[in-house]
Symmetry: C2
Subunit: 243 residues, 2 copies
């Protein structure tokens, strides 16, 4: 439809990179572009940590999976939902931040995600590719220790970026018919079998690690075991209390 939409539709996760480094000018351009995402009431509740230290990256790579590309990618960023800067703004105004609300957790988590998606798109427009690393939430305590992340901030996900050295097939997405509802919520599963078949063919035919799988099977495996059950206690300790 246009170049921007073509770029968006060309997304795939990249985990294998050429050794070429990403210039600091490009890193700044990516982060500046991230900043132009929408933000709830102008709060801009996120911080990005540029992790270069190889030992730190190895430790994060291990706890996140292992996901060795966290160590080997030319660029590794940790995106944090950050309410500490808001706290500083309050202190600057001689006021005390009211913290611990579920809503504040939503605001900061949405803010960091919108900014990160802008960063990913900016990076892809510069010829880079990458992958989000939700796996840092496997052990967020250690990530906080390694990156000296204070209270009111939590590492939401990482992002590996670099010049692609693989040509992954694209994982077929849910059809628009299953995602877009008219007027009110209507679960539309008429296309579910068809989508399962498409995913099955994708998994069978892909060049890297082909396997037997479908969408419903993959999701059912993911969603029938406890999901990172340490997250609540971790977040509570950090000032995100879900009140």
């Amino acid at each position: 439809m246009n170049q921007v939409i073509d770029l968006l539709k060309n997304h795939r996760s990249i985990r294998k990179f050429k050794p070429e480094t990403v210039s600091i000018e490009k890193v700044h351009a990516i982060i500046e572009a991230a900043g132009w995402a929408a933000t709830s009431n102008f709060i801009q509740a996120y911080t990005v940590i540029h992790v270069k230290n190889k030992k730190t990256r190895k430790q994060i790579a291990d706890l996140a999976g292992p996901q060795p590309w966290v160590e080997t990618s030319p660029l590794f960023l940790v995106f944090c939902a950050d309410l500490k800067r808001a706290q500083t703004a309050c202190l600057y105004e001689n006021k005390e931040m009211v913290s611990g609300y579920t809503e504040q957790f939503i605001i900061s988590t949405v803010d960091v995600a919108l900014a990160a998606q802008n960063a990913m798109i900016a990076a892809e427009s510069l010829g880079l590719g990458g992958v989000y690393i939700g796996g840092i939430r496997n052990d967020p305590e250690t990530v906080c220790k390694l990156l000296k992340i204070p209270d009111h901030v939590y590492p939401t996900f990482g992002m590996c970026l670099g010049y692609p050295d693989e040509n992954q097939e694209q994982k077929p997405r849910l059809p628009v018919s299953m995602v877009l509802n008219d007027e009110y919520y209507q679960e539309s599963n008429t296309d579910l079998e068809k989508y399962n078949a498409i995913c099955k063919a994708y998994y069978q035919n892909r060049s890297n690690s082909s396997r037997e799988d479908t969408w419903t099977h993959q999701i059912s495996v993911m969603m029938t075991s406890p999901a990172r059950p340490h997250m609540k206690a971790f977040l509570k300790k950090r000032g995100f209390e879900f009140k």
Copy 2:
């Protein structure tokens, strides 16, 4: 730096629209582009409701502020974090979803935000403009009733889109120096006064509703009163239990 980055850096909230409608082809292109965002473990935990009914839109416009553009914008979408489709996938596999984990809340909230940001960028690339409507969380119960949103789904934010009929100045963002940290978290507030001065000038000089304000002042007002304290109970009732 390139056209895509120029587009990202040109973002501003648009609330005033030309009467021209957005074709259904464009709506589909926007939602298809949304789908190509990254997604945690392929779960694609979001649904978009296209609300056309004027009475419904008026009700949502009122509860969200009022924000009359929710009623008047050519296109109004409600982005929902959706774990119900995952539950359906489990049922399809004769399994029972384990629900209520904080981590699942994060996964679905990040998923819907990444998809929405792709939607916003796709829309802007088509000459549209728009604004996120976090205000639907003022009364999420009513939004759920109006849009028949079931358990395991919550309306995260709305999005108004259309052809811009205003030329808003851009709200100056935090400088990269305050957002990007090297190696570990380091609150860098050396540029805070400077940023306050920039924001002050922006608020003084903008053509619409100029006022006296700074960033720290605005954030301190927002963060010193309880933030939508109903959200926890609402989400709990809906199956998002923060365990």
